[in-house]
Symmetry: C2
Amino acid sequence: MTNRPGSDEGAPGSDVRALATGVVAGDRLALARAITLVESSRSADGRRAADLLDLVWSSRSGQSTRLAVTGTPGAGKSTMIEALGSELVAEGRKVAVLAVDPSSGRSGGSILGDKTRMTRLAAHPAAFVRPSPTSGHLGGVTGSTRAAIVLCEAAGYDTVIVETVGVGQSEVDVSTMTDIVLLLVLAGAGDEIQGVKRGILEVADVVVVNKIDATPDAAMDARGLYRSAMSLIGARHRQWHVPVLTGSALTGTGVDAILDAVSELNALLIDTGQKDAQRLLQRRLWFEQSVRDAMIKQFLSGAAHQAEQKRLAHSVDEGTRCPSSAAISLVTSLAVS
Amino acid sequence: MTNRPGSDEGAPGSDVRALATGVVAGDRLALARAITLVESSRSADGRRAADLLDLVWSSRSGQSTRLAVTGTPGAGKSTMIEALGSELVAEGRKVAVLAVDPSSGRSGGSILGDKTRMTRLAAHPAAFVRPSPTSGHLGGVTGSTRAAIVLCEAAGYDTVIVETVGVGQSEVDVSTMTDIVLLLVLAGAGDEIQGVKRGILEVADVVVVNKIDATPDAAMDARGLYRSAMSLIGARHRQWHVPVLTGSALTGTGVDAILDAVSELNALLIDTGQKDAQRLLQRRLWFEQSVRDAMIKQFLSGAAHQAEQKRLAHSVDEGTRCPSSAAISLVTSLAVS
């Protein structure tokens, strides 16, 4: 453990060691508490969260199939995830579900709120369902989610499904922490494709026109529309052609086809070495983002620094100050103080 | 000047003040030297660059029309920029052209190299043509380019054209420092649209199928293709429908229509307040990126820190260390040292 952070501050506390032991043993309560710790924004928890991640970090880290499920609000993500997850656990897989709610990072509130979700899947002994994280200190929502994924893998889950609520940047962010991005869309008029947030089509690996039970004809039109769109945009993975499927979590239609597409792509990514390469880039990105976040946190930990940062940010907003010189001024002032 | 950075380090040198005076007076040689200063990666130049930007920063900053011209290599960007710029100066505008070459930031080399470009436009007294920047210290290529834009505006140029060489992330980056993104594409088979880098279509405000003189029929097909693509992807600006035009810088075909579309969108952005809102977000982004870059620079200025960073980055690459805890470990070690 010579690499452990803060070895200058002694060994991790017994509570953290106990938590790590529980996580690795597959204790779901310990896993839930561990995720709460890495999501905590209390600075006192920062060190304990880092210690915990070091303790559970192992060769098992990064070995799961990481599936992102995204799409516009109302596209039926939760219901589809419950259908996919239930099928997977029935096949003997261990499935963890994490939700990324960008709003929770900004406003502190959660779009998903407290409404019970995926009750059937959550009740299964081989499944773990976790509501959306708060921003946390390990790099905002994405940092917390990356850490939560590692914890789920340490707990032995071989499939980690990350749900994004389909607003803002979250879809693109989630593509930097998962292997495969499943995009759920709804049938509608041609221009409704614009309802799909900017950038999502660029990272989608599998597209599903959902709720075909509701509007079968429109669903077929939408499938053709998305097929042409994806053929224009192209796939982000080599040797892969983005399939546009139809499905209905309600009737279970298409669930098998979706899982087949996912495992086909997963096999392709492994065989071509793209999965390892992608994981390497994702670890580097996580490290770089974490370094920046930790630096910002440390730099601005002092009240005087926060005041100076606020003052300069205000001058930048007002346009009275050149942003880059204001930044250099800020960092200089922090260094000399 | 109470806001000037490093007021704890005395007033800016007379050389910097003279340079600022020359820039504001519209001296092209002074402007060229000023841009070289903000592009410099010599840490000794960092403070002088910040002082210079503060001295020239004024109400004029941000008042120009900032046009990005992007597209795949060989799409004819330089020739089109020369045609557009020549038309603009003929109309009495003052035009500055900056090139963003992402490769120069990474490899130190430049795709554009030293070959003379836009000689006709460069020779015009109302035009200023600047080759691609090196990475610099103000936030890499994008930071240097943001600063160069401000310098051009301080020198009285009312139109700043930023050219990207059409590789990698530069197109998306350039959309965070300009008002309008003009995308040049070439006619070709349907799937050649995939040659357009991921994300470019998302930020394009005006699309031009270029070099129609070469392949008129294919150009018409391409125009239809891109029109459907853009109708699917949609415009990033409210109340704007992305036009897909055809042009030939060689014959001058379409140049007027392109400039009309640009000024139409520019007027829309101003009237709807989208230009001011966009500029505000761009200033904030510039500030945040600069703070992070300056912090990284300062944190890693010591040889010991660089060694620790390399060691931890290696462990992250190897997968032997959790990225977030490695980051916290790095920042902690720098703080206690």
